[in-house]
Each structure stands twice: as C-alpha cells, then as structure tokens.
C-alpha cells in the first residue's frame, strides 16, 4: 500500500531548502545572527579596534558565562518553564567553591562541590515544580531569594579571594582566539545540541513543553522531565560559578540580578518561544553573544553610561523585530 494518493499538497519543488526557509527556528536563528552581524558592522565602523584580535578574544571570554547559563535556561524554557534562580545559584555555587577553597580542599573537590551545589539546587527546584505542582516562576523566584541568602550566610557577606594558578590560566589562556572558558561553552553547546535533537530525552523535553497532556498521554513522565531540565540548568549554573571564580579570582556573595534576565533575553532573542515546545541551542548562544557584543561595543565606542541602557533597550527591541519574519 504505497502513497499513491498524495495529490493534495503539490510536492514542494525543493523540499530541503525551501522547508528550512519555512522553518520558524531557522528564521529565528537568523534573526540573532543578523543582529550580531549588524552590530559588528556598526561597531567596527565606529571604532576599528572592535574587530581586533584582542577585543574579539575578550568578547568571547566575557560571553562564556552568559552562554552557559543561557543554555541551561533554554532547557527550562523549552518545557514552558523559566529558571529565575540561575544567577543566584551561580553565586551560591561560587561561594561554596570559595568556602571549600579556604577550608583547604583540593581544587578538583572544590569544583565538584560547586557543581553539586548547582545540581542540588536545580533538582530541588525541579522537584518542587513537578511534585509540588507550584508554578515554575514562583519556585525559582523563591530559590533566587534562598540561594542569595545562603550565599551571604556561607560567605559571611564578604568576598573570598581564591588564588589558583590553574584557574588563572584557565580563565586567561586558550587556543588562539578562543579562551578555554569560551571553548568550554562551545563544548557544552555541542553536547546539549545533540542531547536536545538526537536523544529521546531531548524529544521528550520538547514534547512536554509543547503539550504536557499529549506527552503524558503517550506515557512520558512530565514530572521527571521537569526535574531533569532544572537539574541541567542547576548543573550549568554550578559550572558557571566555577568560571566566575576563575574570572574574578574571588567568590563574591553579591548576586547579579540582571544576569538572570539576560539569560532569558538571550534565549528569547535566540528565537526560543517562552511558551515551550520549540528550542534551539544555536539561537541562545548567538543571543548571548549579541548581548555581550552590545555591552562591549557601547563601551568601546564610548557611549555615555546614561545612554547605554537606552541603547541596549533599543537594540534588543530592534533585534527582536527581525523575529517578525518568524511564521
């Protein structure tokens, strides 16, 4: 019984290409990319050091943390959730690292502690959301607060200096243009891309986000998926905590609240719908780069600090306007 009756929709002439062009995800990626290219052209025109080797290198290194956090955020958003606690959990993980370091733990152990801290926080977030049936927004808002508090308590409100030659090298060296931290972010992006599009787990994440009822009806445990994505987000936040410590040579309990909003902005600029069910990894990575380039470029060009927020706002909206071309 072959498909003899496929008359209705006239066979699209060049399925592969034209189909990709009709795919919303493609256009959305393209939007972030266009934004990135547009900004690059503008900034390069205004200040020729923008595309200098050194500046590109620093942009990539500066973007690493945001990229990693945004990837974690992508997973939670793909299930229709949101993780408002990423930045605070990162801060807490960094403080845990700092605490262990001052206790004289070996460096690898400190790192493990940071990641485990993130993991535990993420898992608790996920469990409360899935088992407690509390909205994602509220749970992670709560843990935003709780993680900040724990960081303050653990660090006694003071930054802890962490001097380690290894970390210093890790945060300042790399291969050519690409710092180690940026390369780590790229590796994570590649792995998560494969997970999202080439494993059962990834498909189930998208299904649970697209239609929880349908996913449940086919036997997917949406609760387990929720726990898993928040754990992923937590682990990546823990990892970012290590990068943060490496970058500034200290762990500081003062959380950067705008970082969380930036991760969400990166994800959305990357064309991922906040309603869940559709996601890419490339998009959020590009989104994170757009935001980093923006700050770098505005400072490089010497835009006054009062005009910077205005410029950021306008660029974010303009970049998003490109997404209009999405279906």
């Amino acid at each position: 019984m072959t498909a003899t009756t496929v008359e209705a929709p006239p066979a699209p002439p060049a399925p592969a290409r034209s189909q990709r062009l009709r795919d919303p995800a493609f256009w959305a990626d393209w939007a972030a990319l266009v934004g990135l290219i547009g900004l690059t052209i503008v900034f390069q025109a205004l200040n020729s050091t923008f595309l200098s080797y050194g500046n590109v290198q620093s942009i990539l290194v500066a973007a690493a943390i945001l990229i990693i956090l945004s990837i974690g955020q992508t997973f939670t958003i793909a299930t229709g959730g949101i993780d408002l606690s990423v930045a605070s959990v990162m801060t807490f993980a960094a403080c845990a690292f700092g605490w262990a370091f001052t206790q004289g733990w070996a460096l690898p152990l400190c790192m493990v502690l940071a990641v485990v801290t993130g993991l535990v926080f993420g898992a608790v977030n996920g469990a409360l959301i899935a088992k407690g049936r509390i909205p994602d927004f509220v749970v992670t808002l709560g843990s935003l607060s709780a993680a900040s508090g724990l960081a303050l308590i653990l660090a006694d409100g003071k930054p802890t200096t962490v001097i380690s030659p290894f970390l210093l090298k890790f945060s300042t060296r790399g291969i050519g243009l690409f710092g180690w931290t940026f390369l780590l972010a790229v590796v994570i992006a590649v792995i998560t891309h494969v997970v999202l599009f080439n494993t059962r787990f990834g498909t189930h994440v998208l299904a649970a986000g697209g239609s929880p009822e349908a996913a449940t009806a086919t036997g997917i445990s949406t609760a387990r998926i929720k726990i898993a994505v928040y754990t992923v987000s937590g682990v990546l936040a823990g990892l970012s905590g290590i990068l943060l410590v490496a970058r500034i040579g200290a762990s500081s309990p003062a959380a950067d609240t705008t970082m969380t909003l930036n991760t969400v902005a990166a994800v959305v600029l990357g064309g991922v719908s906040l309603l869940g069910g559709r996601a890419t990894i490339v998009g959020p990575v590009l989104g994170a780069l757009v935001l980093t380039v923006l700050v770098n470029g505005l400072t490089l060009v010497g835009v006054s600090q009062f005009y910077q927020p205005l410029a950021v706002g306008i660029v974010v909206v303009l970049a998003a306007l490109l997404m209009r071309f999405q279906k």
Binding site: S58, A62, G157, I248, A254
Partner: protein
C-alpha cells in the same frame, strides 16, 4: 506601642540612668562596607552595654525597602535611631514618624538632606560621617600624584547611584588640568562587570594611565583586568572603602591605593552618640569621621589596624562619654 519613655531629639531629654535602646537602619549588607559598619555598631554597642537592633536595605538601590524598614522600626520602643539613608530623602517618612515621637536621630555616613529633614520636622541630633565627595577628592589628588598627567577612566557603581556619584564628583574635582577623565562607565557594584568593562576601556584607550573605581570590590576586578592586559604598574588603580582584601592587594602591589573610609568607626561612633545622648550630653552637630589614603608604604600598618584607622583621629563623642 510607641514608647513614650524617652522623648526629645536633643540631649536634654530622657532619664540619664537608663541606657539607650538603639535601632540602626543602614544600607545593603550585600556590600562589605556596610557589613563592617554593622560590626562597628555592634562593637560600639557592646562597649556601651547596649543591645542594638540592626536592619539593612536589601541592596544599595533598595530605597523603598529601606524606608519600609525604618517605618517598621519607628513604631517600636527604641529611644535612639541610627540611620544611614540610601538617598538624602528616602527615609523622610520614617524620620517624620520619629520626629513626631520625639526620638533621637543619629545620622551616619550619608547625610539626610536638609530640606527633607525640615519637611519631616526632624533634626538629626548629629551627623557622623565622611563626605563621599571628600573621599573622592583624596583619590583624585593621589591620582595626580601618581601619574602627573595623562588619561584616566572612572568605573562607577550602578548608574544614578548617589554614593558612586558623589565619589566620582569628588575624584574629578581633585584632578589637575593635566589629567583627563576620558571615559566613565557603570559596573553596577559588580566585580565581574568591572573586570569586563575595564578590559574594554583598556582596549578603547590604549594610552590609559589610571582607573578610579567607586568601591574596592570593583577595584579588585579592575586590577585583574589590568593584570590580564599585562599592564600592572603602568595603569594605576585607585579604589575606595579600604576593605581588607583591598588593603592586601595594595600591599602586594596590585591596587595602587585605596581611600579608606572606616565604616567601622562610623558605626561605632553612631552608637556611642546614642549612648551620649541618653546620658544627657550635648552632641556636636557634625563629626568628621576619619578618611585615610592607603598606599603601599602604609598598607602594612593599615592592615594591622583594620577595621580601625591606623592613624590618629578625633573622636569628640568618645570624649563626651569619658
């Protein structure tokens, strides 16, 4: 529930035998500066035999939160309130309440704006603190001493933040005509942002000679940026606050200098002022808290003395209590 036990904002009030009940409302404890201030308040209180209630804003931009905390405490039975407002006016409501209940108000660190105090009908019994403008000026003068001429950049706190604004204003006023501020950026009191921004600024101005940074936490990030650019020593970094980590850095040759403002002493004096007022003493209207410039040669001394000043300073309030 409002205590009528003590009254009068002046020293003439109250029962001299009774120790003061002190409440303190300070700025956000997410910054070590204010933690040290809290320690100072506690230390001062324990010497005076007082058990103080200390509250702080959630962050240094939390103006309404701080106001809410003061109003919450204003209704309670304290005789003396030590306040460190985030802006010159944000505590006006609570102050009005305090004035109505005739409580003693001790203003530390950031001054309550005169107009606001008038509107609230409140007169702080004393103001103890250093002008942030003065602290900034010290940094500016030191910068001139260090580089004599050239370009410098300023890394401020959150845009629009009062403390940051005053320090930067002071810094600029302390510069000579041969030193030019080429760029001023905001790093939101965040070390990582300061690092990122300073890296970019160094790129934009390859001839940069120095950075002034509005607090030490950020300054340490800037030091890192300078290190990463391989310009340690060539680019001077001057911070503000004088927290321990910064003093260590000065000693080790990372940070060029920092303007130490001794929040510990300010806090201590604040509580002592309350004790003095309760004892019926007349408080001086203004007490200048110590400010010291810490450079490498005095870093050791400063580290040893921290959180107290290493040099001599006047403490008229301690004299009152003697």
């Amino acid at each position: 529930a409002c205590g009528s036990s003590s009254s009068g904002s002046g020293p003439a009030s109250g029962d001299p035998a009774k120790p003061a009940k002190v409440a303190a409302v300070i700025k956000g404890l997410d910054n070590p500066f204010f933690q040290t201030m809290e320690d100072g308040i506690k230390a001062g209180a324990s010497t005076a035999g007082i058990d103080p209630t200390i509250q702080a804003a959630n962050s240094i931009t939390d103006t309404t939160g701080q106001a809410d905390k003061l109003t919450a405490l204003a209704g309670q039975d304290f005789s003396c309130y030590v306040v460190n407002p985030i802006t010159g006016t944000n505590l006006v409501q609570g102050l009005a309440k305090l004035a109505a209940a005739k409580k003693t108000i001790v203003n530390i660190d950031s001054p309550v704006e005169e107009e606001a105090a008038q509107a609230a009908g409140a007169t702080p019994a004393t103001y103890i603190g250093t002008d942030n403008v003065a602290a900034g000026r010290l940094a500016g003068q030191e910068m001139v001493k260090q580089i004599t001429s050239g370009e410098v950049a300023v890394i401020g706190g959150t845009s629009g933040d009062v403390t940051s604004g005053k320090r930067v204003e002071g810094f600029t006023s302390g510069l000579s005509s041969s030193v030019k501020v080429v760029q001023e950026v905001a790093a939101d009191w965040n070390r990582e942002k300061a690092l990122t921004q300073a890296t970019t600024v160094l790129r934009a101005h390859p001839d940069l000679k120095g950075f002034y940074v509005a607090n030490d936490d950020m300054a340490l990030g800037v030091v890192r940026a300078v290190e990463n650019a391989g310009k340690t020593g060539d680019v001077k970094v001057i911070g503000t606050d004088g927290v321990e980590e910064a003093l260590t850095s000065v000693k080790d040759g990372g940070l060029t200098a920092t303007v130490a403002q001794y929040p510990y002493t300010i806090g201590e004096m604040g509580v002592e002022a309350c004790a003095a007022a309760a004892a019926g003493k007349t408080l001086p209207t203004t007490v200048n808290a110590p400010v010291e410039l810490v450079t490498q040669d005095v870093a050791d001394q400063a580290l040893k003395a921290t959180p107290k000043p290493f040099g001599d300073y006047e403490d008229p309030i301690a004299d009152l209590l003697k």
